[in-house]
């Protein structure tokens, strides 16, 4: 963009931003400023309004009231186009890339140039030159679905740079990366700032913020609880106070206990993904009663396929035994009957039927059993009672059990799923990303429930991208990379660095 001198102190000034969604005040008179050439961290719990505020800045939402100034000039964004024209570039948490287009095509999307005929070879070269300049590598002619998550993130950043953005918004960019990749990203951020860009960095991890950010703004329930403070003096407890409004106990109460009999035995398991490519390659492990086995890894390395194979949702080769019974390639129904509970990654897409009532959702796994069912009929009064029991027992916040599941908040929906799965007294619990996207209160109760099940003697397979959580909850951990388990170790002996290197495939250990 044009030359920016010291005429104005701020690259971005947002004053008194108010935005309401049906039933929620997402941004309540929020102020936010970004100085030129700084990295400003924006923190807050899930649902605190960070993404909303940034979507306002990116022109996706229009605030009900409030004022936005970019480089000193008041602006009104009617569409993302206006925001882009003002030099704002946003890297969304869920990547906004078209999987079937190439890297170059994704970068060119929405631009006036080329005018009609795509001479991709020419633009590939332009993109390569841009990559050189900022040290962001990704093959320009590859399709998005063929490249890694880290590369996709680089494409997202390149997309904004190609449009001449000098204000970059990175929405939770570290959530999908391994520790070493996070380090690389921070390096990139510093290069960008050196080149005169300003960066808004959304995160909820204090160590990352301290490592890279100049200033810090914290949101809680749509309100700013700290505006542009210096992060260096802040302790973890201070930050928790700002984000949650109360002190948060970070210590998870995990009792030492001796694991019992082997429940799950997976031997040389292989399976393919939806495109028919190998996703899990000869994985072997076992889990005992009262044991939590954690699997770390960057998303898309075969975790989903592994879970689906174990729960009967995907065909596989090799052997899966539950209490000695072979269940590989059995139906999901058979797996349920064998005592497998499944907390799926996708709560709304797989775990629940959004337009059905809470009652109909909690009987999903036991509607064929007495007392919910007697013969061909479903005993709805009994189902209702069961639902009320679970609502009270697991503190699911819902007006009634006849309310549609989609009206529940993420945390309550997850509690509903856990209540349903746990009430079946499972032998094995397969939990995938059980706390993702939840607020601290819900995260605490979900973690507590899993530990309770561990004490009760269930075997638990936990898959999470939150490394801290994984290491705290698990008894043993392994890392999955490219469909293979690259190291199994006691959680107490695991260190972040080793695991991070395994996650990117730069270290293998065969225990």
């Amino acid at each position: 963009m044009t030359i920016t001198t010291g005429e104005f102190p701020y690259a971005v000034e947002m004053r008194d931003i108010v935005l309401r969604f049906p039933g929620v005040l997402a941004n309540d008179h929020v102020n936010f400023t970004l100085k030129k050439g700084e990295i400003h961290a924006l923190l807050g719990e899930n649902g605190a309004g960070k993404s909303t505020l940034m979507n306002v800045l990116a022109g996706l939402y229009r605030p009900e009231s409030g004022e936005i100034k970019i480089k000193g000039k008041p602006v009104t964004f009617n569409s993302p186009k206006d925001a882009i024209a003002s030099g704002i570039g946003m890297v969304h948490q869920h990547f906004m890339l078209v999987p079937t287009l190439t890297v170059t095509e994704n970068i060119l999307l929405g631009l006036k140039e080329p005018r009609f005929i795509m001479r991709l070879a020419k633009y590939d070269k332009k993109i390569l030159a841009l990559q050189e300049e900022f040290g962001l590598k990704a093959d320009p002619s590859a399709n998005i679905w063929q490249i890694s998550v880290g590369e996709q993130q680089r494409v997202e950043i390149l997309k904004t740079l190609y449009r001449g953005a000098d204000i970059l918004i990175l929405d939770e960019p570290t959530a999908v990366l391994a520790p070493q990749e996070i380090e690389e990203l921070m390096q990139t951020m510093r290069i960008l700032v050196d080149q005169g860009k300003s960066i808004i960095f959304i995160s909820h991890k204090l160590n990352e913020v301290k490592a890279v950010a100049d200033r810090l703004t914290v949101l809680r329930k749509g309100k700013a609880t700290a505006e542009g403070i210096d992060p260096q003096g802040l302790s973890r407890a201070d930050l928790a106070e700002l984000m949650v409004g109360r002190e948060v106990i970070f210590q998870i109460d995990k009792k030492a206990q001796v694991p019992g009999e082997v429940v799950l035995e997976v031997d040389k398991l292989s399976t393919t993904n939806n495109r028919g490519l190998a996703a899990v390659k000869g994985v072997s492990f076992s889990i005992r009663q009262g044991e939590i086995f954690g699997i770390a890894g960057i998303a898309g390395n075969g975790q989903s396929e592994l879970v689906e194979a174990i729960t009967g949702l995907r065909e596989s080769e090799g052997s899966i035994r539950i209490n000695g019974v072979e269940v590989s390639n059995c139906s999901p129904g058979k797996a349920i009957n064998c005592g497998v509970a499944h907390i799926p990654e996708d709560r709304t897409g797989v775990g629940t039927a959004p337009n059905l009532s809470v009652t109909k959702n909690v009987i999903m796994k036991n509607y064929t059993e007495s007392p919910i069912s007697n013969g061909w009929r479903i005993n709805y009064p009994a189902a209702h009672d069961h639902a009320v029991d679970l609502k009270e027992g697991y503190d699911i916040q819902t007006p009634t059990v006849e309310t549609q599941a989609r009206k529940l908040s993420g945390g309550n929906l997850q509690k509903l799923i856990l209540a349903r799965e746990i009430s079946g007294k499972p032998q094995l619990i397969v939990a995938m990303q059980p706390t993702r996207g939840l607020d601290v209160g819900a995260i605490e109760s979900i973690q507590k429930l899993l530990l309770e099940q561990r004490s009760n003697g269930a075997a638990i397979l936990l898959i999470s991208e939150e490394l801290d959580e994984l290491l705290e909850l698990s008894d043993r951990v392994a890392v999955i990379f490219n469909g293979e388990l690259v190291g199994q170790m006691d959680a107490s002996q695991a260190d972040l660095n080793t695991i991070g290197m395994m996650m990117t495939g730069s270290l293998r250990s065969n225990e």
Partner: protein
């Protein structure tokens, strides 16, 4: 390009009021008649005369009303079958073909004949009903299997099979079972006629000429059965789960493929029974054009009834009236057009059930 108002859709956070679905369906019907009135006026007809004629032709006398219910009978059965399939998000439009196959299978009982024609009426009619159900069910099963196991779009397969069934039927009525070269079979023996109210005319003169036949009872019983299944049964629960979120249903251990085939079989069976009811209750032989597009009107019936089995009954009667009147009024496509408009408006109006529509002035919100 700058429209002075901005129309926004907000997700409904509260429950939809109970009267809303009924109100939108009624509104769609009324609006369809108004729109088509305008169309009629534009092409130079007098919409008031057409509608008055329409009303008289359908509700003017007991005899006329009975004709409507006779036309409504296959629609009830077909609409019920569709409701079941649509609830599982299977968009079958194959009832037309299943209807013909049901009629054909049922007719075989008399044409072959499968039982001696001096058997008791109850035996012949029961066997015909069974054969009708079988024919429709088998014909519904084909697209069901293709959809469930080969992921073939059911709309196109069912539609193609409709054409096939008509040609199949033609082959037999033009050929082997033709009545002296006419495009129809000989009239069935009276033993294969469904009882009608007119049969009672000797005792109760009021019923003379009243064409209403036993088939309507099939429709009413089927409606009750389907309602019971949907509301209380395990299968009904499975259908609702698959319809709302097939991935969740699969995750809950429900065999979706089997359920798709099953629903298509039941849906086809109902259409097949409708075919049987039509040949035994109305035309008393197998011939060309026994269906006046029942298979297509049934789609609209199911949708207008919001897939509720009891609502299918009054909606079918309305459509029976449209069909009866449609034979008389000019231009002849008008009843088809009204049906199409109704369906279109019903779907459009569904937006009111899912979203709150807010209209605001553009200027206000910029401030």
């Amino acid at each position: 390009m700058k429209f002075p108002f901005r129309i926004t859709f907000e997700n409904r956070t509260e429950e939809v009021p109970k009267w809303m679905p009924l109100a939108t369906s009624l509104g769609a019907v009324v609006a369809a008649f108004i729109i088509n009135g305008i169309v009629l006026w534009l092409i130079g007809s007098n919409p008031f005369r057409v509608y008055k004629f329409f009303f008289n032709a359908s509700f003017g006398s007991w005899g006329a009303f009975s004709d409507i219910v006779v036309k409504a009978t296959p629609l009830i059965l077909i609409g019920l079958g569709y409701s079941l399939a649509f609830r599982m998000k299977i968009i079958s439009i194959g009832a037309e073909g299943q209807f013909y196959m049901g009629a054909f299978f049922a007719s075989l009982v008399v044409l072959v004949p499968l039982v001696p024609l001096d058997s008791p009426k109850i035996v012949v009619l029961t066997l015909m009903a069974f054969m009708g159900i079988l024919g429709g069910a088998l014909y519904g099963m084909i697209p069901g299997i293709l959809k469930a196991y080969y992921n073939v779009n059911e709309i196109i397969t069912t539609l193609m099979l409709n054409y096939v069934a008509v040609y199949w039927n033609n082959y037999w009525i033009f050929g082997k079972y033709s009545d002296a070269g006419f495009q129809m079979t000989p009239t069935f023996d009276k033993v294969a006629w469904l009882p009608r109210l007119a049969d009672l005319a000797s005792k109760y003169p009021f019923f003379s000429g009243i064409t209403l036949h036993l088939g309507v009872v099939f429709g009413l019983v089927a409606a009750i059965l389907i309602w019971l299944i949907l509301k209380y049964s395990r299968w009904g629960y499975e259908i609702s789960l698959i319809g709302d979120n097939p991935k969740a249903a699969n995750y809950a251990g429900i065999n979706i493929k089997r359920n798709i085939v099953l629903v298509m079989i039941v849906s086809g069976a109902l259409a097949g029974l409708a075919g049987m009811s039509e040949v035994t209750g109305v035309v008393h032989r197998l011939q060309e054009k026994i269906s006046t597009n029942y298979g297509f009107s049934g789609v609209i019936v199911a949708w207008l009834a919001k897939l509720h089995p009891f609502a299918v009954i009054p909606v079918s009667i309305l459509f029976g009236a449209l069909i009866v009147a449609g034979r008389e009024i000019q231009p002849s496509g008008i009843s088809f057009l009204i049906q199409g408009t109704i369906l279109f408006l019903v779907i459009s109006s569904d937006v009111l059930l899912r979203y709150k529509v807010r209209i605001s002035r553009r200027q206000e919100e910029v401030a």
